[in-house]
């Protein structure tokens, strides 16, 4: 018998992993999750849910007399950092069927404050009669209150349920794929999808060509369509902003603690030592966010309109560039580019490599002086080569066409603004657009 290989074959620049071992690993992972769900669920059911359910359904009501009382103490943590909680308890004597029984029962919730637990205990008097419920199977088990702890039930169902659902579905998927060819998996939609990769929507009748619906839903003021801008800078700005807010919230919490310590006359040197680098990173985060915000808003908006969309190989189109803002620009350039994008996994990281494989300049303008209230406008002609590759997008690979505007303002750093376009293949027998 031959064991499956750990590595299958080399494709392109990489050696791909063994699908058999990958499937086995995936099945083991999901089976482990499922077993953990069953075990966790079983523990919660037998330890919490079933006893609570029995108290509410099986226990019989009785009236008990308080014959003793005391505080139950529970200690958690190690001997060095022991924490105690306190719970008022009473010893009850109560009729259980034909016989009399006597047992301890808790008479309130657990308290971390001993004085509060004592206060609750003081309210209970020796000789007082209380309603209680006892277990007919074991009369020495008695409780003073009934009801359900709903969040515990939710926890009982939610956590093991999620583990069971995720693990079970994954295991079923792995077993369903077992022994099936990749063509069969792809044809029946069973091929594993990468949750981190984009799942592009295709155009009807043109498989693997990205949909251009979002590119033609905004009419232009002079030409037919206004193209939306692809701005990774906006996401960077959002990310920097979120980081600055979250990080500085943590810094503020630490600083408040350190301040309270100082006011109380104590100096926690460890906290102060942690606080200093945290403050430095927090200030750097605010500076980076502010700089990105200024750069994003200082140079005015760039708009691009186009006479038709989608584009076709061999077609000629008109484009209108409009640049707003104030101040002087050394130059402004417009070009049509074809970029390849490949997404791959490297260890636990997912990386995307981009490479411009074709570029055609569409226009270049020097020495611009922009003033408020007006915008620079220029027209350019776009010619898509007759033998051009069409736009393509699959889960991990893409061929993107885009119009790129590169500007160099005199007072600000250079900027690049990208407007994606979609190129369809030339239909057979159809003349060039």
């Amino acid at each position: 018998m031959r064991l499956p290989r750990f590595f299958s074959k080399k494709r392109g620049h990489r050696r791909t992993g063994s699908e058999v071992w990958g499937s086995v690993g995936e099945a083991i992972f999901h089976a482990t999750l499922m077993v953990a769900g069953v075990a966790f669920g079983g523990l919660l059911l037998t330890g919490i849910a079933v006893p609570e359910w029995r108290i509410n359904h099986d226990f019989l009501e009785s009236r008990g007399t308080v014959v003793g009382k005391g505080l139950a103490r529970r200690s958690t943590g190690g001997p060095a950092a022991s924490r105690a909680s306190w719970q008022a308890s009473v010893r009850l004597r109560y009729p259980a069927g034909a016989e009399a029984a006597e047992a301890w029962a808790f008479a309130g919730p657990q308290e971390s404050d001993r004085a509060r637990a004592l206060e609750r205990l003081d309210r209970l008097k020796l000789g007082e009669e209380l309603v209680c419920w006892y277990d007919p199977a074991r009369p020495a088990q008695v409780v003073l209150s009934r009801g359900y702890n709903w969040w515990m039930w939710a926890l009982t169902l939610l956590l093991p349920g999620a583990l069971l659902a995720f693990g079970g579905a994954g295991l079923a998927r792995s077993l369903g794929r077992w022994g099936r060819s990749e063509e069969r998996q792809a044809a029946t939609g069973q091929r594993p999808r990468d949750p981190l990769a984009e799942g592009p929507a295709s155009t009807t009748g043109h498989p693997a060509i990205p949909s251009c619906e979002d590119l033609v839903n905004s009419p232009g003021t002079i030409l037919r369509y206004r193209l939306p801008i692809e701005s990774p800078e906006s996401w960077t700005l959002l990310g920097l902003g979120l980081f600055a807010v979250l990080w500085n919230t943590v810094v503020a919490l630490l600083a408040v603690n350190a301040g309270l310590d100082l006011l109380g006359g104590r100096i926690d040197w460890l906290l102060l030592a942690v606080l200093v680098p945290f403050v430095v990173v927090g200030v750097a985060g605010v500076v980076a966010f502010t700089r990105s915000l200024v750069l994003a808003t200082a140079v005015g908006t760039t708009q691009l309109e186009i006479s038709a969309h989608p584009l076709r190989p061999g077609g000629t189109y008109e484009a209108l560039l409009a640049q707003g803002g104030t101040g002087a620009f050394r130059d402004l350039e417009m070009s049509l580019e074809l970029e390849e994008r490949a997404t791959f996994r490297q260890g636990t990281d997912t990386r995307t490599e981009r490479l411009v494989v074709w570029k055609s300049p569409l226009g270049s303008w020097q020495g611009l002086q922009l003033s408020p209230g007006t915008r620079f406008e220029a027209r350019a002609t776009i010619h898509v080569p007759a033998a051009a590759m069409h736009s393509f997008a699959s889960e991990h690979n893409a061929v993107h066409w885009r119009i790129v505007i590169r500007g160099r303002p005199t007072r600000w750093p250079a900027f690049i603004r990208t407007f994606p376009v979609v190129v369809f293949p030339q239909s057979p027998g159809e003349p060039a657009a």
Partner: protein
């Protein structure tokens, strides 16, 4: 495709013949494929899968798109030494020889044997006439 003289053949072999001798097709054009299966003596295929697929090659993870797929499990068809199938090719994606992204079209004939073993034979063809992309900086 390897051909070993009988009776020393140790591995299966599948020979594919395309209706277009140069294996070049236009979008939306019909494609017809004939194949001949040669198996080592004593080996019998219990199922055959024949498909027309595109897949990506290059730096990224491999993506695959199935244009047509057929699985034959009845004994007579699976054990047949020859077979054929036809389809009309789609409008896209066209074959592309990029720098870090490549798109290939192929016909695959996959034979399944006992004990879960399989053998796949892949035969590449071109769809469309897109020239290869040049490396940046090269003409």
């Amino acid at each position: 495709m390897t051909h070993l003289p009988d009776p020393v053949r140790q591995h299966p072999s599948v020979t594919v013949q395309f209706c277009s001798p140069d294996r070049h097709y236009e979008p939306l054009q019909p494609i017809a494929v004939r194949y001949v299966v040669e198996l080592p003596s004593g080996q019998v295929a219990r199922a055959v899968e024949r498909s027309i697929v595109w897949y990506t090659e290059g730096k990224g993870e491999e993506d695959i798109g199935v244009h047509s797929f057929e699985r034959l499990t009845d004994r007579v068809t699976a054990e047949a030494k020859t077979g054929g199938f036809e389809s009309r090719l789609p409008a896209s994606p066209l074959s592309y020889e990029g720098v870090i992204v490549k798109i290939r079209w192929c016909v695959r004939v996959r034979l399944f044997f006992d004990a879960g073993r399989d053998f796949v034979s892949e035969h590449v063809f071109d769809l469309g006439h897109v020239p290869a992309a040049a490396f940046p900086g090269r003409p």
